[in-house]
Amino acid sequence: MTTGRETILGNIRKSLNRGPLSAERAAGPEHRLKAAKPNLVPARGAVEGAERVALFIAEAEKVDTTVSRVAAAAEVPGVVAAYLAAHDLPTALKAAPDPALADIPWSRQSTLAVRQGGPEGGDEVGVTGALAGIAETGTLMLVSGPHSPTTLNFLPDTHIAVLTTGAIDGTYEEAWARLRAAGSEGPEGAFMPRTVNLITGPSRTADIEQTLLLGAHGPRRLLIVIIDDQGP
């Protein structure tokens, strides 16, 4: 479409004193792409079980995320209702059209009004799932798809994410492996969803006199509810 492409590639090759990579020379970078593997991984995330969950919670709390732990999905509505009441927030929830969220017995909390779907103007509280938690930095990994509209992670003032302990990985590399496995039925390299959001705490800015303020453009607050699915 543009001659720019050939000019740019030509400039690069001229500077590197070579033509296009020969098949032999391309083998190295080709392999690097095909068999993506971890580089140096910090030891911090190399923890298992209860210790891993504890690390996830500690790191998330450091960046102003609220974390609640419950023993079963049935307890989620109660925790959510209590959180909303404590922060004096509306009780109308917009939940992502995710089957796992539909299985939560929301109706047990008569104060909550839960609808499933994508966000519309005026949704103040959004509820989403998450593909993974990453203990190393207290981070959520959310992926886009028919069950998980990306805008729901950003538009409502309050973001509530529901996560099981089994979905908490120690490191980013483990979470990537989980993502690769989740999309492995597609063609090679096509495991990647349209959008992957790594979210670590609520939105913030320090652009005015370096004063840290939460709620810049994204959610003002983030609640993660962790459901224990691994026993004590």
């Binding site: 740019i8 400039n11 391309a26 580089n39 960046v63 959001n197 913030r204 709620g215 994204g218």
Partner: protein
């Protein structure tokens, strides 16, 4: 933007007497560097991660054509397009064409240094399209018609009162006596106004922190979430990025992310790191219908393998600015163009010419702090010296400095003569200055003594004292 680097000396002089700027820079000096140190101390592998990050980028630069072609293949497979642009004019044209094709009237933008480099906002405005910056700092300086003064904190030079004044002037239709006395008030006002802009925009333009060859993804990092709203809500997402942003895999991107935020703000990681791969897919209820990557060379390909090769590893974290005694004294605007601080002093002469930006490589004490904190281990002081050498070779140094340098070189190459001459000078200055201990003025060094006294030497050179003490030892 039009460069004012030629008047660097004047710019710096003005910066030195700007009280608001002095306060802001003092705060900066106590903020980011301290937080960076704490983050680094918390991560024992930090030095190893710097080495790993550097190795990734070196592999990328060695095989840059290969990774870029692979990145493009993946983007196209996912229904996106890559536009290869040799220079700023081509990139501006490409972005404008996409916006016009989409019938765009307003465009939201998340902060992009490449956007500043090619001056995309001016180009869009000149063609009747309104760009709206959405990063809070960038939004404030857009209202004020100023360039960013820091890579990651564009409005770092402003006081809250200045922001209040700007909002009162620019935000029409709001009560004149509304409360705007706290940073929170200002943020709420900007949030409400920009939320409407996000929802109304036809096209969203973001930069890219990285391009992932393996997956054809664009990685964008923010704390505010503005890039996410910019890329998800409008019908068209345009990414503007330079060539060297490509990395091989998600794992490689992760390694670089581990050093990026820690070096920049001292955060463990930024709040939002997003990997965007192509347009909306079947079944998606949101996301853009079009996905374009405008890929800019602008002289970078020609830098490969040369004296400035290493600077292509830069990930724009701003650590070199935060730790630079010169930046910390004059701020970013004095540098006169898009990039400031040590990285700006190395990049600008290459991008806008040594004639235009020749002062910048000289505005450094070569203290080495920038290289010490650079997560990608870029030898910035060495490159500043490369520019100085080129300046001398190309006769761009003023005659007096040139003569002085030549004289010094003549002496420095003749040690006996050097010792004799400096010994004589020290004895002379020592004798003249003994009574008062310092000189207030010195012929040929008026620039230096204008703002400080020159301490009088004690009468013997370092070398003379050294040989005397060595001789005195058993």
């Amino acid at each position: 933007m039009e460069s004012t680097s030629r008047t660097f000396e004047d710019n710096a002089r003005k910066a030195l007497i700007d009280a608001d700027l002095r306060r802001a820079l003092t705060k900066l000096g106590h903020g980011f560097p301290v937080k960076r140190r704490m983050a680094v101390e918390r991560l024992p592998e930090f030095e190893g991660l710097r080495d790993a990050a550097r190795a990734i980028k070196e592999d990328v630069l060695e095989n840059l054509d290969f990774y870029l072609e692979r990145f493009e293949e993946r983007v196209v497979e996912q229904g996106g397009q890559v536009h290869w642009c040799v220079d700023a004019a081509e990139a501006n044209q490409a972005v404008l064409a996409i916006c016009q094709e989409a019938g765009a009237r307003t465009v939201t933008k998340s902060k992009s240094m490449i956007g500043e480099e090619i001056a995309i906002n001016e180009h869009l405005e000149a063609n009747g399209i309104t760009p709206v910056e959405t990063d809070l700092g960038e939004y404030i300086i857009q209202l004020r018609g100023e360039p960013p003064s820091h890579i990651i904190a564009p409005a770092i030079h402003l006081s809250m009162d200045q922001v209040t004044e700007t909002f009162r002037q620019c935000h029409d239709g709001l009560a004149a006596d509304r409360e705007l006395s706290e940073p929170r008030d200002l943020l709420e006002e900007a949030r409400a106004i920009l939320r409407q802009k996000f929802l109304a925009a036809d096209v969203g333009i973001t930069g890219a922190n990285m391009l992932i060859a393996e997956t054809g993804s664009v990685a964008v990092v923010t704390n505010e979430g503005n890039a996410d709203l910019t890329m998800t809500l409008p019908r068209v997402h345009v990414v503007i990025a330079s060539l060297e942003k490509v990395v091989p895999t998600l794992e490689d991107a992760t390694t670089i992310l581990r050093v990026l935020a820690r070096s920049a703000t001292g955060q463990e990681t930024s709040v939002y790191t997003t990997f965007a791969s192509g347009p909306r897919r079947p079944g998606d209820s949101d996301g853009p219908e079009e996905f374009h990557v405008v890929l800019l060379d602008n002289g970078r390909g020609a830098m490969l393998g040369g004296d400035f090769h290493d600077v292509l590893r830069c990930i724009r974290c701003g650590a070199c600015l935060n730790h630079c005694p010169v930046y910390g004294t004059i701020g970013g605007h004095a540098y006169g163009w898009v990039y400031s601080g040590p990285i700006g002093a190395v990049l600008s002469p290459g991008l806008i010419g040594l004639e235009e930006a020749g002062h910048l490589p000289n505005a450094s004490t070569l203290c080495g702090k920038c290289e010490e904190v650079c997560p990608m281990r870029i030898p910035l002081p060495k490159m500043l010296r490369h520019w100085r050498t080129r300046q001398f070779d190309r006769d761009l140094v003023p005659p007096a400095s040139r003569a002085a340098l030549k004289g010094w070189a003549f002496l420095a190459k003749r040690p006996a003569l050097y010792r004799a001459a400096t010994g004589l000078a020290m004895r002379l200055l020592g004798a003249l200055g003994r009574r008062r201990g310092a000189f207030r003025r010195m012929p040929l060094a008026g620039g230096w003594t204008a703002a400080r006294d020159l301490p009088a030497p004690e009468g013997a050179t370092f070398m003379a004292q050294w040989s005397r003490r060595k001789g005195a030892r058993p």
